[in-house]
Amino acid sequence: MFDRRLVTYFDWGLLGLTAILATIGVVTIYSAVNAGGNTPQQTLYLKQIIWLGAGLIGMSACFMISYKRFDQYAMVIYFGCVALVASVLVFGKFVGGSQRWLAIGPVSVQPSEMMKVGLIIALAHHYSRHLKKDGLTLRDLVQPMMIVSLPFVLILKQPDLGTAMMLVLIAGSMTLFCGIGRRTFILIATAGAVSIPVAWSFLKTYQKQRILTFLDPERDPLGAGYHIIQSKIAIGSGGITGKGYLEGTQNILSFLPEQHTDFIFSVLSEEWGFVGAGLVILLFLFILLWGLSVAHKCRDPFGILMSVGIVAFIFWEMFINIGMVMGLMPVVGVPLPLISYGGSSTITIMVAIGLLINVSMRRFMFE
């Protein structure tokens, strides 16, 4: 079974990029929780290292077994993830009004994170057998829609709007990549354009308010709007070269909310300036283009579609997070992949990259 070529073709580049971003993450988390004196979360950077270790194990597990097996067991993996997500609604613990966490021994995990990978595998499995040259029709979309809506509804119930939307974005990107027939596309677009105003009129005033605030944080000057202003000040005041490591005043004085998770990029930009923040964005561009080139070299539809799904996953999380802290996007709780503190999200990303490496190192199998 073991093939020497697996070592020869191993994708060191992807692993290297992952390692660099993860290191930047740990260093920035250290600053976020330590700069400016004692916080109760001082040792979180150490925990992040543990998560990365766990992620590395998950990653290795994912490139050891041929991804063909993932194709074979796609629906098993998918329903396994769905079952976990469903069990959260039954056994999960409530934190801050929503039920997202499943306690397994001493650690708590968020099955909704793993669901993203499960969904990518399931959709890649499905689409790889149903591609059409002149695009998918409405009928072809029924099954994928069911695959997405099951976990979507379950996660919306927790409620976790951010993660639920992420599923839709990933699925949407994969579907667009597969191509939709022109007539179907027009039909969907029209239906959407018509149904939104209708749905809007059914919403209660407070629900409308919440959506408007989501789209335009400035409407909530004491909450999200204020956070975005402080985040923009943090990023902007970093200037070209930054204020220096552990010297970010916005960070030190706790003007940033969630500074070790959602707003980590603001901390990083304040300390390292345009040079540092630009470099991180560039690293993300590298990793995404690398992922697409893996798909490019791959010679089997499932591998290609899974790679595209994983790239979409990393892309959307990164784009929404960085866009949000720079004031380009609505305020949603989405972590910055590999940089933000977080167990489930870090492990999930590393598992996903493990799958990319898997596809990459087995490209020879079709040569």
């Binding site: 040259k133 004491l222 990023i235 005043t249 916005q250 561009l285 784009f319 866009g323 720079m326 380009l328």
Partner: protein, 619 residues
Amino acid sequence: MKNYLNNMDMDWFKRRLTIVMALTFAIFCLLVIRLFYLQVINGEKYRQLSANNCIRLQTIDAPRGLIFDRHGELLVDNRPSFNISIIPKDAKPIDATLGRLAAYAQIPKSELEEKLKKKKPFPVYKPVLLKADIGRDMLAAIEVNWFDLPGVVVGVNPIRHYINAQTAAHLIGYMGEINSKELKSGAFPKKEQGDFIGKFGVERSFEDILSGREGGRQVEVNSSGRIVQVLKTVAAEPGQNIYLTIDKRLQQKAESLLAEKAGAIVAMDPNNGQVLALASSPSFDQNAFVGGLSRKKWQALISDPRHPMTYKAIQGEYPPGSIYKIVTAMAGLEEHVIDRNTVFFCPGHYRLGNRVFRCWKKSGHGKVNLEKAITQSCDVYFYQVGQKLGVDRLAWYAKACGLGALTGIHLAHENAGLIPTAAWKKRKTGVKWQGGETLSMAIGQGYNLVTPLQMAVLISAIANGGYRYRPVILYKSVTAKGEVVKHFEKQVVGKLPVSKANLALIRRGLWDVVNGNRGTARIARLKDIEISGKTGTAQVFSRKAQESMKEKDMAYHLKSHAWFVAYAPSNKPEIAVAVLVEHGAHGSRSAAPLARDIIQMYLGKKEPSDTGQMVSLRQ
């Protein structure tokens, strides 16, 4: 299936992948441009904003809802309070600033330092309160010298003003600083350390209605903490105004009747459960609580032997005395132990085994039927009814009349009282129930405990034909814009366990108590209003021991409590009253005239014409 891509068409994939790469690259350019815009083009602007942490949030307190009586008479409003705070970050060097502030405001510097120390660790850019509710002189001194006091801010907050000091103090209640237990409970999600919440009475019960929603301001400040411009404002949402069911004039009348005494008066509309007056004496001054009460004042209040901090109308638990005979009569009639013609002979005492139980009238009442027994409050008659019923049947009727349980009035700290049963005594003391205890219970002495409010609900039910209404104090709540949010609804919580005919018999007896020639409450008669009622005297000490002393020599705390419950007009009741005077000795002498005066005031003059905006609420 039809025309799916079956063979590998790698060029198709590669074309699409190239497009995706291009798209990705384009979006990254967008992100980098945005980053460049923030950090390079506007870098200097943001650097300045961050240097002073210029953009800050200030909270705007929501004005608390006002409290009115049923006729729209204002009971509680808000007044501005000026507070001095310091923002440590702007006040540098903080020691020198504190020194100058102490000099201008003439406060010892040590006091200010103490305050600051206590609040540690404080966020350096948020105001730390130094002194609340300062006077005009101090305010002027600080305003004149503000340029010399960087980081010192004077805030204006609305605080409570209780217009009629001492009036309905227990009912309205007071506010206090939220404590850590309340913060942790999760019941006050929007409150933080240092905020005030209602702690007692209406202020507590209707906290969520009254408190409104805090607003805030995004402001830009300069390096000494002065506001340069207000960027955005979210207006505070004022709390709702509430209208209580009480009538301020009646409440004040009740309080003046209780002046110099300890006790409670409850007046209710028997037809719907609206509480018209809920007075407790002695009272206290709520305004003293506004800025936080000193430990010494608090100690003085709670160690007062007449318990001004106890809301006697709903918390005070007393033996019901002869008022309980209403329940005993009801039970006797319904259980067919007696009927209207049953006659017992009262020689002034009753023998059970080798014990002798006295009637309050030593010479005895002679032949007594039910009506006479109620009218003259004959103990011997009810001893015999009680003995025939037994403790547990009697207790069942008492509980069905709502005794021994909370009335459900929307006020915290209400007490339930106690209705004993044989099983209760065995459990509590381990001793078996004694036959003699049933006799004491039948005339309302012994273990029985009731609150004045329970008595008012009971007499209201007698008055209205048997319906126990939940006593209500909120008439309506209205937003600052005038929309009515909550409105009073009457709610029946139970029915008296008595037939129409038997209730009529009891009512006949109660009419005689006031209007009969030998009634115990003839003192309560009014010229043009017919009143029905029942007196009660609740012993705090055994009757035998009492007799050996002259009443006037008796120590205050050994004297009996005086009760009177009444309703009027007798045939079509519009008001029900329960009066309790602690250690008032006799129900007829101490309590009945008070009830009479309340009734006279309420029924004698109809609704005051000067308020005009509210029509009569009485049916």
